[in-house]
């Protein structure tokens, strides 16, 4: 069902793109559009909530009750160095599929080689709750006693490989130190064309597939705001750096 929903959304975007696409032989000034989709998965598996269906690199079964994160300053870079910022701050909430499909944006023609974004909220916006939209504190992504946004929030349960009972899992990742800039290579020719860029985010890589192993056992409650959390933030930051990939889909 969920897969069908995704396909439906994708088709909607595709058909919208075709509808707005222009022909090169007309006098109408042609335009280029791009939209970005954040596709969250666990080693290629779709995310279903509240089911202990996933196994991390440490061999522990785990689940999701919440998966939300902020991306900021999503920017396309052309081969001549020109940059086009598409989105300032966006909250990606796996429970709200629409939030994973970001708005279609008109872009200048050119050859785009990189998509850049931050995982997290930039330090200028990170320390005030007096904000609207995706940064509205109502989204539950802010520490109110030490004003700052939770950049990545994963809550759920896990079963340790050594004991059979499910325990809660709380990973709240943030702080200015945790802000991560990512730059993913793409190859996208924007000329009278419409594009969709899919950013794949493998949650398992965040916990150590190919990276620093972060087992949940004895390590299941992280709030990012005590000094004890610093080593964890740094490990997670390294892992996040390897957790994202980009693919471009082009429609004339």
């Amino acid at each position: 069902m969920k897969r069908n929903m995704k396909n439906l959304l994708f088709l909607t975007i595709l058909s919208t793109a075709v509808f707005f696409g222009c022909r090169k032989d007309t006098e109408i000034k042609c335009k280029n559009y791009v939209s970005v989709h954040f596709n969250n998965h666990v080693s290629g598996n779709d995310i279903l909530f509240d089911t202990l269906a996933y196994t991390n690199a440490a061999g522990e079964l785990f689940s999701f009750s919440i998966l939300k994160y902020y991306v900021s300053h999503v920017t396309l870079v052309q081969d001549n160095g020109n940059k086009v910022e598409l989105y300032a701050h966006e909250l990606i909430d796996e429970a709200n599929e629409l939030s994973t499909f970001l708005d279609r944006i008109e872009i200048p023609e050119g050859h785009y080689t990189t998509i850049e974004f931050n995982l997290g909220v930039d330090s200028i916006h990170n320390h005030s709750g007096d904000q609207v939209g995706d940064l509205d504190p109502i989204n539950g992504m802010i520490w109110t006693w030490n004003t700052g946004y939770i950049f990545y929030k994963h809550e759920g349960n896990f079963i340790s490989s050594t004991s059979g009972s499910a325990q809660p899992l709380v990973y709240h990742y943030g702080t200015d130190n945790g802000l991560l800039s990512l730059a993913l290579p793409i190859s996208m020719h924007a000329f009278n064309s419409n594009h969709s860029i899919r950013i794949d985010f493998d949650i398992n890589k965040a916990y150590g597939v190919n990276g620093v192993l972060i087992p949940f056992t004895n390590n299941n409650n992280h709030q990012s705001v005590s000094v004890d959390d610093l080593p964890w933030i740094n490990k997670m930051k390294d892992n996040f750096g390897q957790s994202f990939g980009a693919s471009v889909f082009t429609f004339e």
Partner: protein
């Protein structure tokens, strides 16, 4: 060099051409009356004061609708008669749980930039979120508060009058309460009247005033800056413990030098805001002065002003005079002002 200058000029030109995004201002502009002796207050450009905003903020401040079970309001733990603090050592939240710090008085907040004892909130607007959502305080979910306010018969029109839209947001709640809080100005104590030449201080109060500033006696003025706010609003370790039970400012900065440091509170209306210190450990002002005379503990982060202070430098009469002076900072107009309740 020259081309660098051109770039600078060009950048300046660009910056000046950038259209300023002015937020629409709704409501009737309100001009704060700043008492003589207090500095001008910087109002955030994105939250200008209006009569409607202040009235809405006041109503929200006193309305238990902002707590999880609609039993407590901001005013439950910030009582005007006590200088908008809680006479209890620790406040009890809606779930019957107590915190571990004394509620802060709400006086002259517009001159402060960091809030809570550890400065964890960077603005008055952001501060509002803390007590409302804290599970051991009002324990409310913001979405729930907004739903309740939106369903109320009065609030949507009050929000519209203040912010131009009936749609209630966490931002408009924060901004309204912050506007009301900025009006909580105290500047008409006996001390203020004395400075304005309207009243005389007693001999004991005058002695206290001098001892308060005397670097070899009270030496209070380093932190409780004389004359206006009576606080530097910095974070200091006042030697309450040699082993810190509450890490204070460290919890926010993660800087070891900030362990056991807390915000310097204003001394205005200090007579009304017992108990004292971040943990409410002292019941009387004399105990506080005694602490700074003989009671403070040495530790790595002890404030240098205390580190170099001589223990036992004041007599009991001198300490009592300082207390008498501090009581001249009581502003009875502030605690009875009908605009605040």
């Amino acid at each position: 060099m020259k081309s660098g200058l051109y770039i600078l000029i060009f950048t300046a030109f660009l910056a000046s051409c950038k259209p300023e995004v002015e937020e629409p201002v709704y409501g009737t502009p309100y001009t704060l009356v700043i008492p003589q002796g207090l500095p001008n207050m910087a109002i955030p450009a994105n939250n200008p004061m209006t009569y409607e905003g202040i009235a809405l903020g006041k109503r929200l401040f006193y309305d238990p609708i902002l707590s999880g079970d609609n039993t407590q309001s901001c005013a439950s733990c910030h009582l005007q008669i006590n200088g908008f603090t809680d006479p209890n050592q620790f406040s009890t939240g809606i779930d019957g749980v107590q915190g571990n710090r004394n509620a802060m008085p709400l006086i002259n907040l517009g001159w402060q930039t960091k809030f809570f004892w550890d400065g964890g909130a960077n603005g008055l607007e952001s501060q509002v979120l803390g007590p409302i959502t804290n599970p051991i305080e009002m324990h409310e979910d913001l979405a729930n508060a907004i739903a309740e306010l939106s369903a109320d018969s009065d609030y949507p029109s009050l929000f519209k009058a203040a912010f131009g839209s009936e749609e209630i947001t966490s931002q408009s709640i924060m901004r309204a309460i912050a506007q009301f809080e900025r009006t909580l100005i105290s500047g008409n104590s006996k001390y203020d009247k004395y400075i304005r030449g309207e009243v005389q201080l007693t001999q004991q109060e005058l002695d206290g005033l001098n001892l308060f500033s005397d670097m070899d006696k009270g030496d209070c003025v380093h932190c409780h800056v004389m004359g206006s706010t009576f606080s530097d609003f910095e974070f200091r370790n006042t030697g309450l413990d040699s082993i810190y039970t509450d890490a204070g400012r460290y919890l926010i900065t993660l800087n070891e030098n900030d362990r056991g440091k807390f915000k310097t509170p204003s001394l205005r209306n200090i007579e009304l805001t017992a108990p004292y210190m971040h943990d409410g450990r002292f019941q009387t002002l004399l105990e506080c002065v005694q602490h700074y005379n003989t009671g403070f503990h040495y530790s790595q982060n002890l404030d240098p002003n205390l580190f170099f202070a001589t223990k036992g430098r004041m007599t009991i009469q001198e300490m009592e005079a300082i207390v008498a002076f501090m009581k001249t900072l009581t502003d009875t107009e502030f605690i009875t002002n009908p605009a605040f309740h």
